[in-house]
Symmetry: D3
Subunit: 139 residues, 6 copies
């Protein structure tokens, strides 16, 4: 890396980081913070890039509302079917940004058409766990 | 199969079919009809099941608005990355039910976070083709 | 939804449901019933659609014998590698409809050629669990 | 590599190769030979391993009939949805070893349940092309 | 977005962009520039994020040499099997940063073990095209 | 199978097996042996084919060094995201053949660009477990 590059004070970086961290907390709440904490002793730079890029750059863009973004993410992770922990984080996130439980169930059901019934079933059972966790937390 | 089953007049079937066909036309327009037509000489029963189940049963449910459904489908097909023709049909569909081009681009961009940049790039280029087709059609 | 649609008595629906339920029990036995029961408090409509569409519409068709259908499903779920619970249900199902354990092992082994050794290995270990469960049940 | 290893005459290798080549021709016919020919100038060793392992080792095993093997392969490649050329080769293969066109269509339709409608649709259109090619060849 | 955020001059951003652009050209050459150009009229912001994040943040890190990075990318895109244009760009890239054609063929062949023969075959045929393109360019 | 085929003494087979077994132990150590042992009562032939083909045929080829091979495998299994046990075996393997922990983390981080952040996150957490296991073993 160019030493000149390194000498530039990371002013904007810290702005992206701060904006991303705020957005992460707004969307994912405690679950998002836990992911970042779990990365601290294995890949702290990756935690920083996740905050800066995913949350500071992408989620902060005004072109699409957060509810639509989370419907898309729940749909995609349901269809991919290989990222169970992240699917649960984003079912929480969808509820955090204004989706109802009924809407979350519905977008998962629709994925049966595009990715098959097993993908939808496994995601529905993840949603069942998330709804139960939130039910316990609300009491 | 039980002959008794066969003897039941397909009253409700025809209702599901009619409801599904209407919904298919509302969402997918001509592109949806073309898919059905292309199935006629290879698997006409599959065309019927697609209309009855996907459109008559799932898309007709009132629990989620069509715009949210299509955002979820564009996100999922972008992430899966292995169904180019259907992705294009659903980018059209998203625009048909009220998404702006900017919103379509945005949900695809977000998939870079969840399924990688190649998946997002290929979907953006599909969107570019769809937007061009519609631009030509509108002139 | 058109109120007229709703007024049609669900005669055929109940036939599809009954036919599907019977087929589900024939193929998946207790494991299939458990899936339906687990959906009751999260997405009961999805359970109904699964019975009506997957079992009432598809599995009930006479064009292919159940043994061939289950060989195809075990092969596909092995290759996809992201639906472990459904894979186990369908290894049971394959044995229920007439496959030998040796045939199940063989179709899974063949998937090493089409989806790689990890996919085949994980499916073989699922088969090992299923065979053990059935061994215990038979005693 | 151990020089001793290299000194062993490849007696059994040539047996595996011959057995695999014969099996490849039985199953895939001309389409299989074309794949091998296309590898000659890029990865001839890979062509040899494909013949020896996939056809000499796996397909030659007596534990499962060829028709069941091809039903499994068509199902798996339909579900994966990312290997169009191989899917067409194996739709040909399924027909070569005794499946009817109706059975091929049926196992593909069933994949809508396990991998979604887009996967099944794209595979049905591949089948349509294969059936047309064979129709022309038979005339 | 916080107006304060917007007021910060994009000093570091432009450094990340410049570093990324330089890295993109080093690795992907003309093919990389073409991808960026193709995004100009559909999603210019995505082109910027691709340069800044993928190339400015990730590829610029000194923790792994470029040759190892490209071996990993060719392996991954071969295994995923759903991103043909990007696979070709990265076969070029692997050769640009010091892999031999023999090494590229070898890492692709190895993917037969982890993702099946169809994935490896399609990637070998992509490599064949890339090698031919470069052969023509060199003359 | 041709009886003549069966009569050929398995001289070369046993050479491939011996070479593969030695290579398996060199790369995967105890973890590889455990996989083979776990196959003994369900599919012993599959264990043999895995040793002969994957290790005796592929890994024994001199065209690519073992460190590059394992970087490719860790990248591919991270991207596929559906083979957690094999991913852990190959993170061990990468370290066994000369990768540093930092290099393993880095190739996984890079997969965020090609397969998304969830795939990279889950693989980083697998690496964390592997590093901890080795830390305990070294004490």
């Amino acid at each position: 890396m160019n030493p000149a590059t390194e000498a530039v004070p990371n002013v904007t970086e810290s702005v992206r980081y701060a904006r991303g961290w705020e957005k992460l907390r707004e969307i994912d709440g405690k679950a998002g913070e836990n992911v970042i904490a779990a990365l601290a002793d294995i890949a702290p730079d990756f935690a920083r890039l996740l905050i800066e890029f995913a949350f500071g750059d992408i989620y902060s863009r005004p072109q699409l509302d957060l509810k639509s973004r989370e419907i898309g993410v729940v749909a995609a992770l349901t269809a991919l079917g290989n990222a169970a922990p992240q699917l649960k984080v984003h079912i929480h996130a969808a509820l955090n940004v204004g989706c109802t439980q009924e809407e979350v169930v519905e977008i998962i059901m629709q994925m049966a058409v595009y990715a098959g019934f097993p993908a939808a079933l496994n995601s529905l059972f993840a949603a069942k766990e998330v709804f139960a966790e939130r039910g316990r937390a609300e009491r």
